[in-house]
């Protein structure tokens, strides 16, 4: 399996203190700024893609990893939650402002020997 792409994003829950919500928004931010056209262009199948998600928040136990996994459209993602992200404490509210970091990695079995740059000597 070769890694095709690492997508990064951040998400927040500003007032609700909901780490899962912040994590889902971070995933949305990570995956929403790119599109892997190569599945269509090169004839690969999305179902062969493996997706790994790593979430960083200050309270990893408070994240519902299954809900984060459901927020991705495909790839049967494996979600790991680690200590990270950032909390901003403030006097004006009971809960901290939560920032979650997300890393979404997509892997695919690529038959590299089956492809060549057009016009290259070994192509």
């Amino acid at each position: 399996m070769k890694r095709l792409i690492l997508e990064m994003g951040t998400g927040t829950d500003l007032y609700g203190g909901d780490y899962t919500k912040a994590a889902c928004r971070a995933v949305r931010d990570a995956i929403g700024h790119s599109s892997l056209s190569l599945f269509r262009s090169c004839g690969y199948n999305h179902r062969d893609m493996v997706v790994r998600v790593t979430i960083g928040v200050q309270d990893p136990d408070a994240v519902d990893a299954a809900r984060v996994a459901e927020s991705l459209p495909r790839g049967n993602p494996q979600v790991t939650v680690v200590h990270g992200g950032l909390n901003i404490e403030g006097d004006a509210q009971d809960t901290p402002t939560i920032i979650a970091s997300a890393a979404v990695e997509a892997f695919l079995e690529v038959d590299a020997e089956g492809w060549a740059i057009s016009g290259s000597a070994d192509g």
Partner: protein, 130 residues
Amino acid sequence: MAKTRMALEIGMGTSLRKGDYTRAAVRAVQDAVWRNSISFAEAFGFEKSDMLIDVEIGVQKPDAVDGAEVKAVLPYGNGGVRVVRGGLDIPKPDGDGVTILANAAIVISFDMERRTDTAGAGMEDKAVSP
């Protein structure tokens, strides 16, 4: 199959006070490029220099964007910069100038083809349209 699109990256950049369309475009390209780490060259056994990177910028005043400066942001790859009318200008509340928002789309391609020998023939069976 020649020029083959592999990915699209999307970014946004602004110039809040200086009214600089090039700066907003540069930031939009940076936002698009540095959100993702793409490993297609490694995965397919190509050189990074084989990558074709085409940049499309949308701003309200396309003529005010210095394409060479936008292109200089990219770490490697050949390709062009196209600037079209788009993005968004938001008038300031005091009526003195605008805040500029630039949209950037970056298309990553390779000029690639299937080898005609038997090496990759096994994968043809899996070539199902998603």
